[in-house]
């Protein structure tokens, strides 16, 4: 999927490539190994990419699943296409409009509340960024979700340690250790390597189920392409043709 995202990057000048690369294994594990889909149940699980700027990871996944067409992918951010920089409600496979940070978890709590009211066994998966956890709205619902007895929420934080103006750990050193704060709000928490599919899978599968779960996934921004890893400019830029070839060859070596 990294290769596919690189291909699309050559059709536009900017595409938030590094934020998509950092959460790719998280998105893939949730969709491929954890979620129950339409063909398995009448009430499928839900996926919300609360860090909407990582949309390319979700679009590439939805393309692999056949929900989005290759044709649509090539019309990314172009007139006549349906895919923009941020996931838009109403697009196939997109269940909430995101792009403004700190909205996804509140929506997930509302969904989980409705599911609980209807007696449905349904899980809402939310992928968030570490910078996003600086939004107060996140902690409002963090405090509330366990009180409402909502157990079917699995949130994964893409802890890539970067935000627009620098390292998250330098801007907010008191944010760490994250898992302690999550537990203090009544959630079950687990720390994993966010590029290790097995660790992500095991953390979700081994949860007790007594409370909502937040998986704190340590990741590398721009993961997979050496010159992009932890270099802020790749938050937004697309590679030029030479950089593109270099990135492809690095991915092929792996």
């Amino acid at each position: 999927m990294r290769r596919r995202i690189l291909e699309i990057s050559q059709t536009v000048s900017a595409l938030h490539i590094a934020p998509a690369f950092s959460c790719l294994e998280i998105v893939e594990t949730i969709y491929s190994s954890l979620m129950r889909h339409k063909n398995e149940t009448s009430h499928p699980d839900t996926f919300i990419l609360s860090k909407g700027h990582g949309s390319m990871a979700q679009y590439a996944m939805l393309e692999e699943m056949g929900v989005l067409s290759a044709e649509e992918m090539l019309k990314y951010c172009k007139p006549g296409g349906i895919l923009g920089t941020h996931p838009d409600y109403g697009i196939p496979g997109i269940e909430a409009a995101t792009g403004s940070l700190g909205h996804g978890l509140g929506i997930a709590v509302g969904m989980a509340l409705a599911d609980k009211g209807m007696g449905l066994n349904r899980t809402v998966y939310v992928v968030m960024s570490d910078g996003e956890l600086q939004e107060g709205s996140v902690w409002e619902v963090m405090l509330l979700a366990p009180t409402l007895g909502l157990k079917n929420i699995v949130a994964v934080v893409d802890l890539n340690d970067f935000q627009s103006l620098g390292r998250t750990s330098e801007i907010h050193p008191n944010f760490y250790p994250v898992v302690d704060k999550v537990r203090a709000f009544g959630w079950e928490a687990a720390a994993v390597d966010g590029h290790n599919r097995q660790e992500i899978y095991d953390a979700v599968k081994s949860r007790s189920g007594a409370a909502p779960l937040m998986v704190v996934a340590k990741t590398t921004k721009g993961k997979g392409v050496s010159y992009m890893e932890n270099v802020p400019i790749w938050h937004y830029r697309s590679p030029n043709p030479d950089e593109y070839r270099l990135a492809l060859s690095e991915l092929e070596e792996k």
């Binding site: 509140g106 709590v109 509302g110 619902v141």
Partner: protein, 306 residues
């Protein structure tokens, strides 16, 4: 109004098992006791956390539920403005945001609790509808209209104890349609919300001191505004008076002037709105309104002078 709203919402919830109310810990929510008692799973108090109130309503709506968010107007829309804009309006979800204390009805609580520019602010978001009933009867009808509406609504209510103003109205309440609540053919007054009481007092005084029959209309649906109805009414009365408990910016008065221009209406138009000011006055609602230039006496004198 808030008691009527609570009673009506309970009736709605009895009929519709997917109706939820999400409140943000304010004391008027006490009027919801019956709802809370009988449907504890559909009554959610998020605490002092308005952003989550709106986000949760959006999530409920995305699962096919009808959600009502409920708190004081200022906290219902200003604090979680972006959640209202993105979660509700951008996604066009059937959620009603109920604001208690529209205008300056919390007249002893100060500017932090005054929703005096709420219609201007919330009305500028695409997809949002606005309902502002004038009395308990209209509140009941408006609540049912919100439950039936397939998009976001801001329901602007007063407080408690508002008198019945419309049970003898010649026309019924209909969502989107400006409504005649008092017959007359000469001058007319158009208003909405609890300040309608002042409009009716002004109409009675105009009739007794200036003669003629003064019609009164309730423009309860501020968005989408009944532009054709408004233009027709303004064209068929030689004097039109608009009274509103809202800023002069982008409320009914400002919109009526736009409609008048667009439809080529030629009539004498007097508008009375809240000033574009924070007024630091604590006391009865009537005193604060008077400080904004709004009293039946002041309005009558201004109209009579002309």
């Amino acid at each position: 109004m808030r008691d009527t709203f609570a009673r009506t919402l309970y009736q709605v919830a009895c009929q519709q098992p997917n109706v939820y109310i999400v409140v943000a810990d304010i004391s008027p929510a006490g009027s919801m006791a019956q709802f809370r008692q009988e449907f504890p799973d559909r009554f959610v108090n998020v605490g002092v956390a308005e952003q989550s109130m709106i986000g949760i309503c959006a999530g409920l709506a995305l699962r096919g539920c009808k959600a009502f968010a409920y708190t004081i107007s200022t906290f219902a829309i200003y604090r979680p403005f972006e959640q209202v804009r993105v979660d509700l309006c951008y996604q066009n979800l059937p959620v009603t945001v109920v604001g208690i204390g529209g205008g300056v009805s919390y007249s002893t609580l100060g500017g932090t609790h005054h929703a005096q520019e709420d219609i201007a602010v919330i009305g500028s978001i695409p997809n949002m509808s606005i309902l502002a009933p004038c009395d308990p009867q209209e509140t009941e009808a408006a609540t049912w209209a919100c439950a039936a509406h397939n998009g976001p609504v801001y329901l602007r209510l007063g407080k408690a104890g508002e008198p019945d103003l419309t049970s003898g109205a010649p026309e019924p309440f209909e969502f989107r349609k400006i409504r005649k609540i008092r017959n007359g053919s000469g001058a007319c007054i158009i208003s909405y919300g609890p300040i309608m009481k002042m409009a009716l007092e002004t109409a009675a005084r105009m009739e007794s001191e200036l003669g003629g029959n003064v019609a009164v209309y309730s423009a309860h649906t501020l968005k989408p505004l009944d532009r054709e109805g408004l233009a027709r009414i303004m064209s068929s009365h030689n004097t039109v008076v608009i009274i509103e408990e809202h800023s002069e910016r982008a409320g009914l008065a400002a919109q009526a002037k736009q409609v008048g221009w667009d439809y080529g209406v030629r009539t004498k138009l007097h508008t009375f709105s809240l000033k574009d000011e924070f007024i630091h006055l604590y006391g009865p609602n009537a005193d604060l309104l008077a400080a904004h230039g709004l009293s039946a006496d002041a309005i009558f004198k201004a109209v009579a002078r002309d």
